[in-house]
């Protein structure tokens, strides 16, 4: 097997079917990616620990993740939560050193690295952000609408993107698939900006 010729999701699919070579290649690749991200976020002494913790959770649980969610996006969510825990622990430790007995900021914090993408409050905020995106950038609203409706129907990547593009082409007949992806990327940037204005995800770092 030439692992370089396969995407992470293909490696993941093969791993789930019991291919040890694919599993090894998958985790080698994830490890490299995790290290690159952790190096920019965690003190050098702790990088290996954080990456190992995240990889262990991914290894134990990747078969249970919801179908359709890409392995990289899912595993980065795990890494993100592990790094969040790392920062929470550091703050707690620092405050303990300063003889602060209570740490109310942690009251609602979950240490579960598999707690999921966003909690209900986060999802409501995301709905608001998407609604605002649709209001401020109607074209982006339509792109997201077509795309999410198509995702809801399910199917292969080509089917999902094909349906969304077909719906968008009713208004913009000249748009190519590549142009659609570019427009989607710009709309994502707009959504990101609105999301950040709304406070976005709590940043543990």
């Amino acid at each position: 097997m030439n692992a370089d010729a396969l995407s992470l999701d293909e490696l993941c699919a093969r791993s789930q079917r019991g291919d040890p070579e694919a599993e090894s290649a998958l985790f080698d690749s994830l490890r490299v990616r995790f290290l690159a991200l952790a190096k920019r976020r965690v003190q050098p002494d702790h990088i290996e620990d954080v990456v190992q913790d995240a990889l262990k959770i991914v290894f134990d649980r990747y078969r249970e993740r919801k179908q359709g969610v890409g392995i990289l996006v899912w595993s980065l969510t795990v890494l993100r939560n592990v790094i969040g825990n790392y920062y929470q622990n550091r703050r707690r430790e620092r405050d303990r050193m300063e003889f602060v007995e209570e740490y109310p900021r942690d009251a609602g914090f979950t240490s579960d690295p598999l707690a999921g993408a966003l909690d209900e409050e986060g999802r409501s905020a995301l709905e608001d952000a998407i609604a605002e995106l649709s209001c401020r950038f109607p074209r982006c609203g339509r792109i997201f609408h077509h795309l999410l409706k198509s995702l809801e129907r399910g199917g292969s990547p080509n089917q999902v993107s094909g349906r969304a593009l077909a719906a968008f082409c009713e208004e913009h007949p000249d748009v190519t698939r590549g142009g659609f992806y570019t427009a989607l990327h710009r709309c994502r940037a707009n959504l990101r900006a609105i999301w950040d204005q709304h406070g976005g995800e709590p940043n543990h770092e």
Binding site: L6, S7, V73, E127, L151, L184
Partner: protein, 268 residues
């Protein structure tokens, strides 16, 4: 992967959103992941945005509803700039209440009327409504208002207009010694009456309730009333009155961009 990047902007980063939402085919995914391995910016983007991308993939139907588009207006260019739908923070201000949010399907009135030069500029889409539980003390006006809103939610704008007209009349004649009306109820009634009339293609009668609601002391209500008043003015060929309604909205975080775009169109 076909060389889309050179086909477009020459930047593989443009495929990031498609990648994280699972739209790329296997070869494209592999190529993008190879790009990703050497692109710290894209790595950071995916890492930071991963919970949002996951949430969108896990529950696309929910977020599709939030992105419900507005296919407003009869001219593509104007539609692009002027359409949009509203989110409503104001029921929280008005109501000591629990809200049951009602999703309103976006139905757009084709805003072209024969014989009016300004009508094609108008964009009339339903104002979303969130049901408010009112305090006791003014049962009759509240009941009439909510009956009107039931028709509004059902999309029967003619009946909604009739019921809301009656609700507004009752409230206007409401004796002070019977107890106060819920704050903002009359202005709300007038706004939804105006919007119902617009959606029922009766812009002339919409002018009066919307003009009155535009004087509301509650800024969120006044802003919404002004926006729809401007549309009513456009549909009845009142350019100056439309400008007058739109000008104060330019500073509004909700309507600012659309009001400015409409003013620019009017200036042309």
């Amino acid at each position: 992967m076909s060389d889309r990047t050179t086909e477009r902007d020459g930047c593989a980063c443009d495929l990031l959103a498609a990648y994280e939402l699972g739209l790329l085919d296997p070869d494209e995914r592999r190529d993008f992941e190879n790009h990703l391995a050497g692109c710290p910016d894209c790595q950071d983007e995916i890492y930071t945005h991963a919970p949002v991308a996951m949430a969108l993939q896990e529950d696309p139907g929910r977020f599709a509803r939030a992105a419900e588009p507005v296919m407003a207006g009869s001219r593509a260019g104007l539609r692009e700039r002027l359409s949009g739908w509203l989110t409503l923070p104001w029921p929280r201000i008005l109501a000591p209440a629990a809200l049951v949010t009602v999703a309103v399907l976006v139905v757009v009135l084709p805003a072209v009327r024969q014989g009016s030069d300004l009508a094609p500029l108008a964009v009339v889409d339903p104002l979303p409504y969130a049901r408010i539980e009112m305090r006791a003390g003014a049962e009759e006006p509240v009941r009439l208002f909510q009956e009107g809103m039931d028709s509004y939610i059902a999309g029967d704008y003619g009946l909604a207009a009739d019921r809301l007209t009656r609700a507004a009349e009752i409230q206007e004649a409401w004796p002070a010694d019977t107890g106060p009306l819920p704050a903002g109820l009359l202005d709300q009634t007038r706004i939804y009456l105006g919007v119902s009339l617009l959606l029922a293609d009766r812009p002339g009668p919409a002018l009066d309730p919307l003009t009155r609601a535009a004087g509301s002391p509650l800024p969120p209500l006044a802003e919404r009333a002004r926006w729809y008043l401007a549309q009513a003015c456009l549909l009845t060929d009142r350019a100056e009155a439309a400008r007058e309604a739109l000008t104060p909205l330019v500073a509004s975080p909700v309507f600012g961009a659309r009001a400015q775009a409409l003013l620019d169109q009017l200036d042309k």
